[in-house]
Symmetry: C2
Subunit: 422 residues, 2 copies
Amino acid sequence: MAIKIMYQNSPIGSKLMKSYGMIFGVQTGLFYMLPWTQRALDKLIRLIDQEMESIGAQKMTMTCLTPAELWKKTGRWDSMGSELLKLPDRHKKMFCLGPTHEEAVTFLVSQKKLERKHLPLKLYQITRKFRDEMAPKYGLLRSREFDMKDLYTFDESVEKAEETYNSVCDAYNRLFTRLGVNFIKVEGATGVIGGTLSHEYHIPASAGQDSLFICNKCGIGVNKEVMDKDVLQTNHCKHRDCCDLKTSSGIEVGHTFLLGTKYSEPFNLHYNYVEGQKHLVEMGCFGLGVSRILQASIEHLSSDIQVVWPKLIAPYQVCIIPQKAGYKADVTWALAEQLYDQLNSIPHLRGEIVLHDKIQLSIGKRLKNMRRIGFPYAIVLGKKALEEEPLFELQSLYSNSSDMLTMPDLIDKLKNSIETIK
Amino acid sequence: MAIKIMYQNSPIGSKLMKSYGMIFGVQTGLFYMLPWTQRALDKLIRLIDQEMESIGAQKMTMTCLTPAELWKKTGRWDSMGSELLKLPDRHKKMFCLGPTHEEAVTFLVSQKKLERKHLPLKLYQITRKFRDEMAPKYGLLRSREFDMKDLYTFDESVEKAEETYNSVCDAYNRLFTRLGVNFIKVEGATGVIGGTLSHEYHIPASAGQDSLFICNKCGIGVNKEVMDKDVLQTNHCKHRDCCDLKTSSGIEVGHTFLLGTKYSEPFNLHYNYVEGQKHLVEMGCFGLGVSRILQASIEHLSSDIQVVWPKLIAPYQVCIIPQKAGYKADVTWALAEQLYDQLNSIPHLRGEIVLHDKIQLSIGKRLKNMRRIGFPYAIVLGKKALEEEPLFELQSLYSNSSDMLTMPDLIDKLKNSIETIK
């Protein structure tokens, strides 16, 4: 059932993503994910699923169409302003296209008879969200339709909600660490979502629209938006006795909120503590900009001439480049096919290998293209592959190092050094 | 990082799905997928991805918001009628919420310089679709927001397009065969999508809204909608000399269309045959009702008292039921945990095992619940698990058979008999 993935079957190529055919803008702020990027997106989603599962969160899906009456209950139908896309159905009932789902999920949980033993409850989804931005820009960084992971948590008390909050932050830390990107966690603004505590996760990148202040001594960071006037004027961090304030540009990729009872109250979401004694549920909400993480990671890791993906979610891991058409090209082609089959038979590498079949192009040209679009590894079958014991050149394109290896050594090395998500 | 999946952490519960908490209706025709069903959905999506990959199709994602001008180009902005959900953005530009994406994808491909060597091109997505049904009903069978797989194919000639058409039909056949559901393929109506050839895939179920006529002799089936008056009146199949016409109710779960140049023409989608010689591209489109397949399969396989999923996509495969709280319950609990860990360490069974921790309930009651909500297998740790060599009762809940096995035999049997999708 498996088919050999040839280069020609992969239509592959912000500035980098657009120019290399990774995304397609159909209108201002509306982008298609092209196959190359889709693969990275699917991997990122599996990675997020793993981290959510590790904290006992359960995946579900709510509808994009959210009934107006839910949003009217919390007043956000009006307070969200013109970013909320609204439409009527054929019966003139009004809906919005969910930019976030606090109302929708709180309504769901309020329809169940909740006991103390059901808590904590952690529900999340990874779905399309909508925001009618005034000025969409920067590709996937600020688009009008985007993929978001939104987790909603339900706890019996403020203390338990804080525990849950910390466990989600830990999961976010693990996620960004596994991606191999630097991240900055700063105090954030609660904004229209509301609540009592909020943090933002940023990936540092010059394209970032947020200005962050981080104290190198106490480690506490803050978004300029929410800085005290004092701090701004004195250029001093919150702690009076320590201060080594640095600024950084960041792309916001995650946001966590302790919501308190802001949503459970209007939806009358109680749980039974003991018979006849009801308590309001304490809530939290936790977002990750999924499609935004893709582009932010690329902005963060890449150079002008080379796309660098977080290795774990690179669309493919290895590109095999056999010799150019001509003298004895059939020999390296046969070797390349053999190598492809062997690598592809290793469970965690299955589907991660591409055989570059445009052999009318020179090795150098193909290698340059593969470097540009973000392959972590290339295997070149040049003249040394024609020797009695063929040698293969393994190039680590992200670190610019290379090795000449026999086929068994090459397979061993890739098997052990590549981590994938299945 | 793995956590033990306890029953309490899995909020689990058409008639069956709603009553068992598998879906939640927030409004007429708008359903949330609850965690139980979400797991089946994610598996079904992976299965579809596998079959699409096997025919060289590439996954991508288009936006739900589709610019009106694309739909006006083909006249469908008006001809789709009131099922099309329309809305303006803040600049009064009009969009529809895509019920299907022929225009959107043809526009994309028409923006690339297409050479003959790029064909066939096969692009698909699995995304939310929208249809403002006059009378939504039957849960996921006819809802207003649903998951669909839509594949679009681009070929150089009618003959090549037919080859592609047949390869997709083969993939659909494999898909339904792997799901273990009966299916009926009949000639369908091309309707508002248009084109020259169309087939429908149905899962037979009494809840189905389509009446199908199938000739037992020639095997050709037809939807009543598109039957010749002749056939309807004479009750004869298309072939004059063979006839053994039977009728069946079916739920439409797939639809295939050979589109010809209906979309490539208005979008001026040509490819370069040789320098200076241009040809219109021949297109096909192929849908699968993803969320509908979930419910149709359940309708098809289940009884009034038991949900039966296609085994391959059952939310979990095995439920371990230790003895009720009381005499020596700690012994079977420890055994159950050991069994859980061992099964969970088998790569293809990882994440498929649930340990039923509501041990205040009797074994019988828990077993009855697990049977109802569609576990393929239950392992009961009753009195025989307390013997010197513990014996475990493996119940195959779909076939109502059971075996008493030692732990090694039990693990071996499950390892070999359960197929999962990773």
